[in-house]
């Protein structure tokens, strides 16, 4: 009897569920029939490690959405280091964005791990269409396949100089060699009555931590005709600064601090110092122009190529193309690639530089409208013809090599015992070289020749 009752109750529940399901389906069908047909919306997510790029991405996304109303965007910007960490955790686990811009120190790992697809044929052709220089295309190529599209130039530093201070010191032209730079900086540096430096003649990167210190040291190292590493004919690498040129470069920075006293780690540094008039010269990328426009529009300044090591040496300039990629695990690859083509077209390339100060990598942009308003961009967008470019190596341990070298450099720059002591300075250089080679050995990338 009890069983019968239970069965009756079960049948009752089943009937009720069927009824509810039928009613639900019917309702949904009727609702769908009543609504006009509408294309599904695609939402593309973009992550960047440059907060100043967010307004640019938003502007381009808005323009794209006008042409493609079914595509929406979410843009997330954070500091570069945080973005690197978030992407390193999110991309392998399939929780990353559809699109992201990142340095090759991270993307090369994604390629190794099969997390980035090679560019589809259409994008590959677009990249090789002549809109970008060959070295930029080569930079985007790993094992014969291209990955991502070049968004902007991540380095290409030049020398900012304060024209008012130069004029007051009676210096007519920006220095053309490093010897001239020292002579000019000695006239421009300023001390208070107690002998404390209040304005540096040149602001070099002397303190802190991280790969950026070595990256900025390379402006001098490469000018002196050395480099952190060099590729062997067999495709491996070894250090290329445990030599006269490498020792000269370190000697220069040590002398800047210890002998000439034209810079001091204690005074304000970098773009902040230049914008505030607390340094007369600075080696930096184009984004500083944006900083000056935002924080001190009245600053009278010019931008020239980084000086030659000697009058007979070539001008050198670091190239570090910054690429934007489509996540290999994205569910919106077709829409993402289409947006990337739009993002990197001529119009948006000009928009990038105008809005952010970062220079587009495209070689076919008409820069006239930009140069008419901000002539300081000239050296970045149209460098002198005699400039010799050097590019960022694409190696897994590159960030570690630069960061660990930076740790030793910051100690060496302010070590008074290295001034006027070539043997001890050579020892310091050798120690860094041994460390660099060891890191290459650990990654199975080392060869002595």
């Amino acid at each position: 009897m009890i069983k019968d009752h239970a069965e009756a109750a079960t049948l009752g529940r089943r009937s009720a569920l069927k009824l509810a399901a039928g009613a639900g389906l019917a309702g949904a069908g009727a609702f769908a029939a009543a609504r006009p047909a509408r294309a599904a919306t695609t939402t593309l997510s973009i992550w960047t490690g440059f907060p100043e790029l967010q307004p640019f991405y938003q502007a381009v996304a808005d323009a794209y959405s006008k042409l493609h109303p079914d595509v929406k965007f979410t843009i997330f910007a954070t500091s570069l280091r945080e973005c690197e960490q978030k992407l390193s955790a999110a991309v392998p686990t399939g929780t990353g964005p559809d699109l992201f811009d990142i340095g090759t120190n991270i993307s090369v790992n994604f390629v190794d791990g099969g997390l980035l697809d090679p560019n589809p044929p259409e994008i590959d052709q677009y990249l090789k269409s002549g809109a970008w220089n060959t070295h930029v295309v080569d930079f985007s190529t790993i094992d014969g396949k291209t990955y991502g599209l070049p968004l902007m130039e991540g380095s290409r530093a030049s020398m900012y100089y304060n024209k008012s201070l130069f004029k007051a010191a009676g210096i007519a032209e920006p220095p053309a060699t490093f010897a001239e730079l020292v002579a000019a900086a000695e006239k421009l540096v300023k001390f208070d009555a107690s002998g404390k430096m209040t304005r540096s003649g040149i602001s070099l990167r002397l303190s802190g931590q991280g790969s950026g210190i070595t990256e900025k040291y390379r402006y001098l190292l490469e000018a002196a005709d050395a480099s952190v590493i060099v590729k062997t004919p067999g495709g491996k690498y070894h250090n290329n600064f445990d030599n006269d040129a490498g020792r000269s470069a370190l000697q220069f920075v040590v002398d800047v601090v210890q002998k000439y006293k034209i810079d001091d780690p204690k005074v304000q540094h970098d773009a902040d110092a230049f914008v505030a008039g607390n340094t007369a010269m600075l080696f930096r990328e184009a984004w500083v122009i944006g900083e000056i426009q935002e924080k001190n529009k009245s600053l009278d300044y010019g931008v020239a190529p980084i000086p030659k090591w000697t009058a007979a040496s070539p001008h050198k300039m670091l190239l570090q193309p910054w690429l934007i990629y489509v996540n290999g695990k994205s569910g919106n690859k077709a829409a993402s690639w289409d947006f990337l083509k739009f993002l990197t077209n001529q119009e948006n390339s000009l928009r990038l530089t105008s809005m952010t100060g970062w220079v587009s990598e495209r070689a076919d942009v008409d820069w006239k409208p930009l140069l008419e308003t901000t002539p300081q961009f000239a050296v970045f967008v149209d460098p002198p013809k005699d400039i010799s470019f050097y590019v960022e190596p694409i190696l897994t341990p590159w960030d570690e090599i630069q960061s660990k070298m930076a740790d030793k450099l910051t100690a060496a720059f302010i070590n008074p015992t290295l001034s006027g002591n070539p043997a001890k300075l050579a020892e310091a250089v050798h120690e860094m070289a041994v460390q660099t080679d060891q890191l290459l050995k650990d990654a199975d990338l080392y060869a002595a020749s």
């Binding site: 392998p92 970098d270 910051t410």
Partner: protein
């Protein structure tokens, strides 16, 4: 009936105490189960996984994880950065724990006196404890600024020249220690204050009647009775100081910052190896060593305190 046996004469299990209704025990375990499961998932599992990872070479991004035994541990012993981080962390920990305890104890004795301003002072000292570390580290970076910092300005009023707090590698670690003491002082102070206020008034009165001076009352009555609190303060402060990271990270960022090597501490080194160089196995080995060090210190402190009690 000896302890450990139930009324039914059966040996009690550790999870089923004697003379307790098993339904109550079951209820307790069932109630605790979600919390314990969550604890195991967010605490125990990651720690166990870190130990496992420390025996592998694993780049965070790559799927391959070759087993390499103790290689990560052996490499750490020859890693200059790790050894430097170990030394800096030990100095930071010893100085921060020592100074914050030595300063907090007399302050607590002073504030334990009945005073209208006592609550105000307690709040002032406790404020740094509840203030988030990142904005505070940025504020301290400004305080320490060579040219515009308020600390150098204050020193100049006494005719003392400007000190390069962050950029001089010989001073940078001490700048961090000062900030560390400032941060933890209020917490230690409150704990000592609670301990002092729990000491029965009659003990102090008896000591006074026996002619004990203020110093003797502190040394012979207050301090011995504060030993459990002192032990707790030392253990928690040691654990926290070995895990120092945020202020180091903030104060080495940018061009106007402390040299990385001067203030390299263990967690910073772990962070750099794990999240910057993506060497997760290596970073895990470092984390395991850090855990063992902290565990070792804690056990030593407990043993020392127990020996004192005996």
């Amino acid at each position: 009936m000896s302890a450990g046996y139930s009324s039914a004469g059966q040996r009690a299990r550790w999870w089923l105490p004697a003379a307790v209704d098993w339904r109550i025990t079951l209820f307790c375990y069932m109630t605790l189960a979600p919390v314990l499961a969550l604890f195991a998932y967010v605490r125990v599992y990651p720690i166990a996984w870190s130990v496992v990872l420390s025996f592998y070479r694993w780049n965070l991004i790559r799927p391959q994880k070759p087993f390499i035994g103790f290689t990560n541990y052996l490499n750490l012993l020859a890693d200059d950065n790790f050894l430097l981080a170990l030394k800096n962390t030990a100095i930071y920990s010893l100085a921060t724990v020592g100074l914050s305890t030595v300063l907090a104890l007399p302050l607590a004795v002073f504030l334990a006196r009945k005073s209208r301003l006592s609550a105000f002072y307690q709040t002032v000292y406790f404020l740094p404890v509840i203030t988030p570390m990142v904005p505070m580290a940025i504020a301290w970076k400004w305080i320490y600024d060579y040219n515009y910092g308020i600390l150098n300005y204050a020193l100049s009023l006494f005719g003392i020249g400007a000190v390069p707090w962050l950029t001089d590698p010989r001073i940078a670690l001490w700048a961090l220690i000062i900030m560390g003491v400032w941060k933890v002082l209020g917490y230690n102070l409150i704990l000592f204050l609670v301990g002092i206020r729990n000491i029965p008034e009659s003990y102090m009165e008896a000591a006074s009647l026996d002619g004990a001076s203020a110093w003797q009352r502190f040394w012979r009555v207050t301090l011995p009775l504060l030993k459990p609190i002192l032990l707790y303060v030392l253990v928690t402060a040691t654990i926290n100081s070995f895990n120092v990271f945020t202020q180091v990270y903030v104060m080495t960022l940018g061009s106007q910052a402390a040299p990385g090597q001067a203030v390299r501490v263990l967690v910073f080194d772990i962070y750099q190896n794990g999240f910057q160089y993506l060497k997760m196995g290596y970073a895990s080995a470092e984390a395991v060593i850090l855990t063992l060090i902290v565990l070792g210190f804690t056990l030593i402190q407990f043993r020392f305190a127990r020996a004192q009690e005996e």
